[in-house]
Amino acid sequence: MNKGNLAGQIFEDPRYHEACRSCMNCGVCTAICPAAGYYDYDPRVIMNLIRDSDEETLTALLQSDLIWYCGQCMSCKPRCPRSNVPGAMIQILRSVSIKNGLFSKSSLGRQQLAIKRAIGHNILETGYCIHPTRVDPEMHPEQGPVWAWMSNNSDQVYGRFDAGYDQAGPGLLRKISKNSLDELDRIFEVTGCKELWDQIENSHLSL
């Protein structure tokens, strides 16, 4: 893992060119940002800190809660008068934070472990990000009684709309073939996702 030189890692990300063209610090991103209205969060400040490129400042930023508030709606993009994308900058910062193990210093950053074990494992085990059998009504009371009915009677409910539910072949929530799951698994291996997941698991263990 390439540690140190955080500014270099940020600038080398392929998304950087789109994320930060020439911020003039106007603050429109903060004005439109749903996260700024809910948390003590200000994407304008983040864009400012990045341009300072100071390693000490960047280290503090990447191990703070600040980079984990953004909801990734990207409402900032169309409104920025310089076509910057603070939401994409956040993606870069989170990526560099995880690669360098800094995310585990933040209580919000440490939530990556739970997300990895839920969404990540869903992807490689089912071929879907989410699946009716894995959205437990007891853990999701906000989903309401209709969802509980759907989840508890999934074969009958989903089967009404497609007889091929959870079966091989095309259709609604088809069972993804072993060959396709194997291809996904190899993609995750060769592109470095599994190495990233090891980093998330190991950072948790070292706390």
């Binding site: 909801g71 709606c73 990207m74 409402s75 169309p78 990526s95 990000c129 073939s177 997941w197």
Partner: protein
């Protein structure tokens, strides 16, 4: 294509579509995608191919930062390869998160050929498949927009209140990743989105303009998926619901499956936690997807297209439009046997 406002229009292929399904839409609106395919094949006479081997695009994993950019790109390149292997080049995407992600990836490959070459190498190494790109890529709601007048010509119902003769007041909610990320890829761009307004007006309804019309539904990815963060998510939907309440909308329509789900579910939660109700006459506001809206005007059976899988009940809306339904089959299985009803369904009347 109109000769005016060309920068707000987009090329939408006429036929021969390769359809990729949505994780969220399949889970929460299980009748919607088969309905869309049926409309295209049997009402509009189009060819739609669906490949059993396509998988999630990993979009939720990408936007929760547990799946790196290059992994997501390689998974998406596999979807494109499957399409080209089957002889198709026009991609139709069900999910708005996926659509935004595909748009981002195609744009990055255009501007970064070295990255594109790297992904082609990953694809070959992991799957043995050949790297290719689609000729045309649209969201499923774009197709309905393109053929909205053809649908209107064969529609059984109009989006009109049959009791008053007035057009239904309809909130259009465009998923953020439909056009905010790449405005040129959305009909009407990010500031003047027409993709759902076009459907509503072509089918007899009236759109509702309200202050927070373009505010995010509040999914927020990690802000919903992690249980302790969900206050963010419900707070954003509440902003929208409070803003639209004075206009007394008859329904909402969303082209993003996540948005449709949250605007539906958070109404239930806000009522349970605060006693707040945002529709007229003490009733909640039904939320439908673009496919379901088309299915309603085309006269499909509401329970066969999945309107019973919404938390907010739709019977009032069906009655306003004049759509027949059999209450006894609402919670039935494929053979008509009653599955059992959801518990705690509440009816709020004046």
């Amino acid at each position: 294509m109109s000769k005016y406002w060309k920068e707000y229009q987009k090329e939408i292929a006429d036929d021969n579509y390769f359809y990729v399904r949505s994780c969220i839409r399949q889970n929460f609106f299980p009748g919607a995608e088969n309905l869309f395919i049926d409309i295209l094949r049997n009402k509009l006479g189009k060819t739609v191919f669906e490949d059993a081997d396509h998988t999630t695009c990993t979009g939720i994993g990408y936007h929760t930062d547990i799946v790196p950019l290059e992994t997501t790109m390689t998974v998406v390149s596999r979807q494109f390869a499957l399409m080209m292997e089957k002889g198709y080049e026009n991609l139709v995407v069900s999910c708005v998160t996926s659509f935004g992600l595909y748009s981002e990836i195609l744009d990055m490959w255009k501007h970064n050929p070295e990255l594109k070459k790297k992904i082609a190498g990953y694809l070959a190494e992991a799957t043995g498949r050949k790297f290719m790109e689609p000729k045309n890529m649209v969201h499923a709601s774009d197709i309905l927009y393109k053929y909205r007048n053809d649908i209107a010509a064969i529609a059984k119902h109009k989006l009109v209140n049959r009791h008053t003769g007035e057009p239904l007041k309809i909130v259009d909610h465009i998923g953020c990743h439909y056009a905010k990320t790449f405005p040129e890829r959305g009909v009407g761009g990010a500031e003047f989105p027409q993709v759902l307004t076009g459907l509503i007006t072509a089918w007899g309804g009236q759109t509702v303009d309200y202050p927070e019309r373009r505010h995010c539904c509040g999914f927020g990815f990690r802000n919903y998926l992690v249980q302790e963060n969900r206050g963010y998510s419900i707070a954003q939907s509440k902003i929208k619901l409070e803003s639209m309440k004075p206009y007394e909308p008859d329904l909402m329509v969303a082209n993003c499956p996540g948005c449709a789900m949250f605007l539906d579910r958070w109404q239930y939660t806000l009522e349970e936690t605060e006693g707040s109700i945002y529709g007229a006459r003490g009733r909640k506001i039904p939320v439908v997807t673009h496919e379901e809206l088309a299915g309603m005007v085309l006269g499909y059976d509401p329970w066969e297209i999945g309107l019973q899988t919404h938390q907010v009940e739709v019977e009032d809306l069906l009655d306003k439009i004049g759509i027949d339904y059999n209450p006894e089959l609402k919670y039935a299985d494929r053979k008509g046997n009653l599955i059992g009803e959801p518990e705690m369904i509440q009816h709020h009347l004046c």
